[in-house]
Symmetry: C2
Subunit: 406 residues, 2 copies
């Protein structure tokens, strides 16, 4: 072990998930176990913005109970941010500031928890510190409900969101069948450019109450085929339940939802409004009653139905990041390698950060049916272990308790 | 006890709730305990429509396991309907048909599970049977997530929906605070003309993560006041979380959502689309980023977070209905009388059906703050016992199991 003593700086970035705080828990607890090397854990307030403004939560000063609650707390307990750091070649300001802060606080371990964009930030910082010869170990902890990070079997956050979506879908389905003649019910699911999360709705089929049709960004979306698909189902069942990804696009790669044309700080289109637009088309052009449900941020924050597998893996990913850094690794992200489906086993690995930044992993075509409107058995085998187990929520008087730091 | 022997016909009507099947469970189990008087339990398929079409589930022929699952099954396991039965004076057809079916199946107990409209149906049938001298006992079992039935402290279905809404609200709130500068987040909640369900969002405040503003149908809605309220909160916090009822209306009693102008079979306006319209106003007129979440049918079907109190009371209401009918009562609905808040205790009572039909119980003004944009302590004391306890979901492989009958 290549010894490096100092402090650890941890940050959360990008869209919250219901288990990113379990990774924080893993980082903090593992660092506490290694006080000979890591004297203090600072958590950035609102990610890199907190680092730049010297705005930290100091972990040794927190109540133990609040740290323990992290395993049950959704969102981002330390605050997240969507701030795009400039290329150091274009503008060095942020990097000079970070270097100053790192030296001031003797930061020797920099752990950043996020998705594609955050790994980009993470890599840029690592690269700069390497070039100016500042001795620091930079490790990425993966996180995204979208499950679209490359070089890893899956990502923390996905399993819990998938569990919520599968269960919500079966509840909505059972509710729909209450009436003899139903509506076309269109449920809009997150996931950006990848269909993983929308596909999770299909897990409801295991109970007998899944969606009739599923539309993903991986298959070009045609409104004519969509209407024909609905007609076929509705003629037979007088009901039709549809799961649709916010990121569906046509043959030319244009988002169905792109009417809003709002971009975020990273230049990505903000998606949304797909289900209500589709419901209008079904109402107006097919003359069939239709309604839309957009789950919105509930799907990434539903702490009350977390997957225990996901929570445990998120914690382990945080612990592994600390272990890798202590062992001398830097400029890597923790990854998951699946050893077997049944019994489900994974191994933690690492992958160079520069190969991950800004890449997306889409669903393989073999997990989607031939017609492009449903999901195959291969996906079920892949996803089922990820939603397994209950992380019992901490209810007091019927409502949950979430961490609060000072 | 006034002895009447025969069969029992049970039906579900109106919007599903996550515990209406627990009432069905109570009815079926209690009837089974009284086989000397009730020989068979028939459950109507899609409510009164099933009765008119002789379309029943026969309970003695079902698997015990499926009956047991009723306590964990949302929606309407036997099917619901929104069918408005004519006045017998205007059109006797349905009643003649029902009388024929009742005689054919020797139906002597008619138990109907529903809200305002269903109690209207229930009363009309009872009245007709009394006038034609057919000996039958008709008892209503209350059910509605809207909690708007009169003469009862609360209704089964409300507590579970309230528990889901309170927990979802705190999750959405915590998620929102992830970012340093947030959006105005507007969550649309059901409840028709009463604010009970929307008020439940305020229970999230007990955890420290409640809505900043709450708008209910009980207080006339003004868009100018709405914008002023948001400005005040947003200027201070750079965030604003709003719970809004689908049924908000202006001084003249016109629904904010009435643009859709679609009426259901009972002549009620279909509500909805409020949050997205309000979010547009905030975006366009206030130039503040805003997003809307419409929980839709998830709030009435979220079996995975049922209130145990609600499930138990729903079952008891079903059992009481059978007991009342066996004891000779007819043309009554089971009601709840609160004896004390702490310890929470209720007594089951009954109330004449003809006084309940088509009436609505709104929230008292004392449960709403002076400004009309928030909830008072009095409501918390009222609602908190109703969301208490966990009815552990029956997960298999991460998804729930729901009843299926043959």
């Amino acid at each position: 072990m290549d010894i490096l003593k100092g402090n650890l700086l941890y940050g959360q970035s990008g869209g919250p998930t219901s288990v990113i705080n379990s990774s924080a828990y893993g980082v903090i607890k593992e660092a506490f176990l290694n006080k000979d090397y890591i004297e203090e854990v600072y958590c950035m307030k609102h990610g890199i913005q907190g680092a730049l403004h010297e705005d930290f939560y100091v972990m040794s000063e927190q109540d133990e109970a609040q740290i323990e609650l992290l395993r049950h707390t959704p969102g981002s307990a330390f605050g997240s941010v969507r701030y795009k750091i400039a290329d150091a070649n274009d503008d060095e300001t942020d990097y000079i500031r970070l270097l100053y802060i790192f030296k001031k606080y003797n930061i020797r371990y920099f752990l950043y928890n996020g998705g594609n964009d955050s790994m980009d930030t993470c890599y840029k910082i690592a690269e700069y510190m390497r070039e100016v010869d500042y001795d620091i170990r930079v490790v990425g902890v993966p996180k995204t409900i979208d499950n679209d990070l490359p070089f890893t079997d899956h990502t923390p956050g996905y399993g819990s969101a998938a569990r919520f979506i599968a269960n919500t879908m079966m509840e909505v389905s059972y509710d729909m069948y209450a009436y003899p003649k139903g509506k076309v019910t269109i449920v809009e699911i997150m996931g950006r450019h990848a269909g993983w999360l929308t596909a999770a709705s299909h897990l409801a089929s295991l109970s007998g109450w899944g969606p009739d049709l599923v539309y993903l960004p991986e298959v070009p979306f045609s409104i004519e085929k969509f209407k024909a698909d609905i007609k076929k189902v509705y003629d037979e069942k007088s009901q039709c339940l549809i799961a649709v990804s916010e990121g569906i696009m046509n043959e030319e790669g244009i988002f169905f939802s792109s009417a809003s044309a709002i971009k975020d700080a990273f230049g990505h289109f903000q998606l949304g409004g797909v289900s209500s637009k589709l419901a209008q088309i079904v109402n107006n052009e097919m003359r069939i009653g239709s309604r839309s449900i957009a789950l919105g941020s509930t799907q990434r924050s539903a702490a009350h139905i977390q997957s225990l597998t996901d929570v445990n893996e998120a914690e382990q990913a945080g612990r592994k990041a600390v272990q890798f850094a202590l062992a001398g690794d830097t400029e890597v992200m923790v990854t998951f390698e699946r050893v077997s489906d049944s019994p489900y086993t994974i191994e933690f690995k690492k992958h160079p950060l520069n190969m991950i930044a800004n890449q997306e992993k889409k669903m393989p075509r073999s997990m989607i049916n031939e017609s492009g409107n449903g999901i195959t058995e291969e996906f079920i085998e892949y996803a089922l272990p990820l939603i397994a187990g209950i992380n019992e929520p901490k209810f007091i008087n019927g409502v949950q308790s979430f961490s609060k730091f000072k």
